[in-house]
């Protein structure tokens, strides 16, 4: 896979590049500022980009803005956002275009190389890889007008893992259930949320979006 890395801390950038190369990926650009990230994303159009939220020169959310701008230019460009903290607000902005190919993870997750590379590959394939912390924040809010109220406890936990971007197989092993059971759950969830049958990945993203819009309007 062709990968662009945008990260301003040299050690982390270098570590990411080494990790990706060690697993046979091709790092086509490794940049350290917001504007450089934007031009690399649009210029290279990589299979997946790994972008830090906070980048020079302003150390605000330059990386996030660059990723959003690039996805407006190149719809569905797979981007995995890394950050020291995860925010519902940013997750909603990233997912708002409904195109998939979005990852949003804590930098800590890099410590577990296996899981991290798994997330990178899921995003590259057009899926989602949300950090469990974001998902728990998104789920954690009790709301009066909650369309998700129609879901059972078990279906909610399946949906949460879907939001993280896990495949049915991965969800099955996480919940100690058979793959067939998970497949039944996902079908029920899609039906309950009123999602028309279609391409599976896309439908999973839409389920996550329905989940995000649940209960409250996005700000």
């Amino acid at each position: 896979m062709r990968v662009v890395v945008a990260e301003d801390l040299f050690l982390l950038r270098d570590g990411l590049v080494r990790l990706l190369q060690a697993h046979g990926h091709d790092v086509v650009a490794a940049v350290d500022t917001g504007p450089a990230a934007l031009s690399a994303l649009i210029g290279e159009q990589p299979d997946v980009a790994i972008v830090d939220v906070r980048l020079p020169p302003t150390f605000s959310d330059e990386g996030l803005q660059a990723a959003l701008a690039a996805r407006r230019e190149v719809p569905g460009l797979p981007v995995l956002i890394l950050s020291q903290h995860v925010e519902q607000l940013y997750a909603r902005e990233l997912l708002a275009d409904g195109q998939g190919g979005i990852g949003y993870q804590l930098k800590d997750r890099v410590l577990d190389a296996g899981q991290f590379l798994d997330a990178v590959e899921r995003v590259a394939a057009g899926g989602t890889a949300l950090d469990p912390q974001v998902v728990s924040k998104l789920l954690g809010r009790p709301s009066r007008a909650d369309p998700l109220a129609v879901l059972t406890e078990r279906e909610r936990s399946v949906l949460a893992l879907m939001a993280e971007g896990l495949s049915n197989t991965a969800i099955a092993s996480r919940l100690y259930l058979s793959e067939g059971a998970i497949s039944k759950y996902t079908t029920t969830i899609f039906a309950k949320l009123g999602l028309a049958p279609g391409e599976d990945t896309n439908r999973r993203v839409r389920a996550v979006l329905a989940y995000l819009d649940a209960g409250h309007d996005s700000p």
Partner: protein
């Protein structure tokens, strides 16, 4: 029936009623003029008495002198000058002793008669402090003896206080304006009575009494005009009060800052720092084990990694408390939106703030709104909160409303009084409407210039 008559009288006042009204006004006027004359007459009376008797006394020294006219004139002039000095000393002494009680009494009268609340900004008598050199500092000077320092402070607080000096001006102005007018009607009455009982002057006496009566309802009113102008706080006293306020705000700020630093230090020391030490130890153990027992080494490394994750978690929550990431990255509006998403109640955020305010203001506003949302959820048991952020004529406003049970107070030591003090440090304020039973509406404003 009774009702009808009373309404009729209101429309067309009976002559009897009118007369009664006049009588009340006159009586009140005489009473008030008398009080004012007594109050303001003390100092001039002392001055006049000392001047009169002093002159008599001093002039008696040279009255038997047989000398040329010029020499006698010169002697009389010297004696009069001396008498004048006595007057000055007597008036000054009266002022030192009675200036403050007289002015305070006048303030109370102004409040009772005209409803004008006039506050006085007397400085408190500064406390005595003993310096390392053994001298005593009384707020004005260094003195060797404690008793003398105390006496001097007492004296200076009556003479050097800006408000006391203003009181002197008030007494001076009042004795040439309020006093003569108030005394005139009294003089008319008493003089008229004296004249009337003299044989043959009854007519003149009655005229003087009538003039005194007509004048009396208006006689005291000059007081209402002069008092608010000269009895009010001295501008310097007002500045003093502001300095006191700012000093207490500064003390609050330094206090907050040091507790905050302490909290951060403890967070780092007990959290991340300890975890890093543990991490280092685990690495050392793994290093030793790696050749002999690779499986055990792997296990140790796994715990080390878990420990690193926990350390990162702790650092993250610490950073969130110091400078919330969204606030740093996006500014106050988006930070409050992010806060709203994480809040345990439904929070709607609207904003018409066109640009990012300065960092300190932004942070203060953010933490204030955060606390208000928490209060609404926790204390007011609200289910719906709205936050509106606005900017108009160099003022940043946050309006937080909730549908909770209300009854919030700004009592000392409450969270709201803390917010109020923090806002005061930035020149801002907190206004609140929170009837028992709700809803609560809290408005926080802070002056701020957006570029």
């Amino acid at each position: 029936m009774k009702d009808v008559t009373s309404r009729a009288t209101r429309r067309q006042p009976e002559p009897g009623r009118d007369r009664r009204w006049w009588g009340r006004e006159v009586a009140r006027g005489i009473y008030r003029s008398a009080v004012l004359t007594g109050l303001l007459g003390v100092t001039p009376a002392v001055g006049l008495a000392v001047g009169f008797f002093g002159s008599q006394d001093t002039l008696s020294w040279s009255s038997k002198l047989t000398a040329p006219l010029a020499v006698r004139g010169l002697a009389a002039f010297g004696e009069e000058t001396l008498a004048l000095w006595w007057v000055v000393v007597a008036v000054a002494a009266t002022f030192v002793l009675l200036g403050r009680p007289l002015s305070q009494a006048a303030r109370r009268l102004a409040q009772r008669w005209t409803g004008a609340e006039i506050e006085a900004g007397y400085r408190p008598v500064p406390p005595l402090t003993r310096l390392a050199t053994g001298f005593w500092w009384n707020g004005y000077a260094y003195l060797k003896s404690e008793g003398e320092a105390r006496r001097q402070a007492g004296l200076y607080s009556r003479t050097r206080d800006p408000q006391a000096r203003r009181d002197a001006l008030w007494l001076l102005v009042a004795s040439v304006t309020v006093l003569p007018v108030a005394a005139l009607s009294l003089a008319g009455l008493t003089g008229g009575i004296c004249v009337a009982i003299m044989p043959g002057f009854l007519g003149w006496g009655l005229i003087m009494i009538a003039a005194g009566l007509v004048l009396s309802p208006a006689g005291w009113r000059v007081f209402g005009i002069i008092a608010p102008r000269f009895l009010g706080p001295d501008p310097r006293s007002r500045l003093d009060q502001r300095v006191d306020e700012l000093e207490s705000i500064r003390a609050d700020l330094t206090q907050t800052q040091s507790t905050e630093l302490e909290r951060i230090e403890r967070g780092l020391h007990d959290g991340a720092q300890a975890r890093l030490v543990a991490l280092g130890l685990s690495m050392g153990v793994a290093e030793e084990l790696i050749d002999k027992n690779p499986a055990a080494a792997k296990e140790v490394l796994a715990t080390a990694r878990a420990s690193a994750t926990v350390a990162l978690d702790e650092l993250r929550s610490l950073v969130r408390g110091i400078n919330p990431p969204v606030l740093a990255e996006r500014g106050v509006v988006d930070a409050i939106r992010a806060l709203a998403l994480d809040a345990p109640v439904d929070v709607t955020v609207t904003s018409s703030v066109p640009a990012r305010p300065e960092r300190p203001i932004e942070a203060a506003l953010y933490f204030t709104v955060a606390e208000l949302i928490t209060n609404a959820a926790k204390h007011a048991r609200a289910s719906q909160v709205t936050v509106h952020l606005g900017y108009d004529s160099d003022t940043l406003t946050a309006i937080v409303t909730d549908d909770g049970i209300g009854g919030a107070t700004k009592a000392r030591g409450s969270g709201l009084s803390g917010i109020e003090r923090r806002m005061a440090a930035l020149g801002g304020r907190l206004d609140m409407e929170s009837p028992s039973g709700g809803p609560t509406l809290i408005t926080v404003t802070v002056p701020c210039v957006l570029s």
